[in-house]
């Protein structure tokens, strides 16, 4: 499997997109650390960028890459290679390149300016989000044969997780404000990886006031230790399950 991944990786790294992504992240992170006096405030601003940009780029890049390598995948399939192996190699290649872009772009400035548990958890959350949204994007692109539809679906998913979901949660909480909804909130936040990422980092900081409503409840309910374990577990599921579904669909797909 690694053999194939190596070639996928090599191909991606030679296209300029990942390099541009790395540079963008680097400039933004560096800028935040320069502008803000308070390092943890800078990390917080960076967090908001990471939570929006990383999922978006991961999804779009993955879908475009998938459709561009469609014929190549077809060629691989005519070789003595199993479908699962091909898809997993593609996944590994894409996610590795995006993760390395992220770790250089955000990781290096964080190492310089804010090398502490908050900085590290920001990096971990970024890596996890990259993996999750790459996995989701593979599911979206495997499901639809048409390129425009695949990218549209990926964008819609991103839009949903990044913007719509929080609104929906707030709406639910608001309309049921007469009832005890804490547990419901906790369950709901597990269904949004971006929320989970935010909570994961927020649990490291002591900034309850800055948390979203979901995040605040989260901390109250779990306390830091268990909360982290829980978020990590759920995030892991978010990586595995879409990829598992994608592999299953891909196995029975006509090309």
């Amino acid at each position: 499997m690694l053999k194939l991944t190596r070639y996928v990786l090599y191909d991606i790294l030679r296209s300029k997109i990942v390099i541009a992504y790395t540079l963008f992240l680097f400039v933004v992170s560096f800028g935040f650390f320069q502008l803000e006096e308070n390092q943890s405030k800078a990390v917080l601003s960076l967090l908001n960028i990471v939570l929006i940009v990383v999922p978006l780029i991961s999804m779009i890049f993955t879908t475009i890459h998938y459709y561009n390598s469609y014929e190549f995948i077809e060629l691989m399939l005519s070789q003595p290679l199993s479908r699962t192996r091909i898809l997993l190699s593609e996944f590994t290649g894409v996610s590795l390149s995006l993760i390395s872009g992220f770790l250089i772009g955000v990781g290096v400035p964080v190492l310089f300016f804010s090398f502490n548990s908050i900085g590290i958890s920001l990096l971990l959350a970024g890596v996890a989000l990259t993996l999750i949204f790459t996995s989701l994007a593979f599911l979206a692109s495997v499901k639809s044969r048409d390129k425009a539809r695949g990218i549209g679906m990926a964008l819609l998913l991103w839009f949903y997780f990044a913007l719509i979901y929080d609104g929906l949660v707030l709406l639910i909480l608001f309309s049921f404000s007469d009832y005890p909804t804490e547990k419901l909130t906790l369950v709901l936040s597990a269904f949004n990886p971006i929320d989970l990422g935010r909570i994961f980092i927020m649990l490291q900081m002591d900034v309850s006031a800055l948390m979203g409503y979901t995040g605040a409840l989260y901390k109250e309910f779990f306390g830091s230790g268990n909360g982290i374990l829980f978020t990590v577990g759920i995030m892991f599921l978010w990586i595995i399950l879409p990829m598992f579904a994608a592999a299953k669909i891909f196995k029975n797909k006509d090309l």
Binding site: Y7, S15, E74, L75, M76, S78, Q79, P80
Partner: protein, 252 residues
Amino acid sequence: MIRIENINKKFKKLQALNDISAIFNRGQVISLIGPNGSGKTTLIKSILGLVKADSGNIFINGKQINGDPSYRSQIGYMPQIGRYPDNMQIGHLFRMMRDIRKLSESDVDADLLVKFNLMSIFEKPMRTLSGGTRQKVSAALAFYFNPAILILDEPTAGLDPLSSEILKEKIMQEKKKNKLILITSHILSDLDELTTDVMYLQEGRMVFLKDINALRQETGEDKLGKVIARVMRDNKKNSLWIDEVLAMKSSD
């Protein structure tokens, strides 16, 4: 070598393959002929496992194909449209393929690489190649591993006359090595000297699979195009397509 039993495949409403059964043996060069959308490529893709048939079985060397990809190491496939990773160099591609099959440089058949002069542009990335050059790469790749079965989907489309001739010569050579070769093409004159058997498909149905010499005798014609035309006309069904082909030829 390849045994196909009652294959059916439906794409939404379109019946792409309709109860097709056939046996292909070593030493045969099978021409898959039929109008566009008659199911030629779908049949090829089912053999390769790229398309999963709704019902029916395909056996390669007596082994049914179901998930285990290892049988594909005996097949060389040249697709209709070969596209490769943009930034990959030609040399890289061939090295990767060797890597996948765990073969060293001495085990492979680089004949076409040499004849198509691809060695000299090994450093070129795929995205800079013209359609014809890509086609050459696909051809060289199909023959690279000396497979017992060759499946060529429109091999000469897009090739210049010289390269097309080189490719045909190569196919002839492989034919002599007692391999099974499946070719689809719309350029019937290209198939003339290669073919041993003709499989004619129309609307997903196999109209016939016959020895070329038997066909020639039956029809009294020599050229493949005319043979097919005669058969179709005698059967008085669906003769439209081949009539059009011949009408176009004569108007050229």
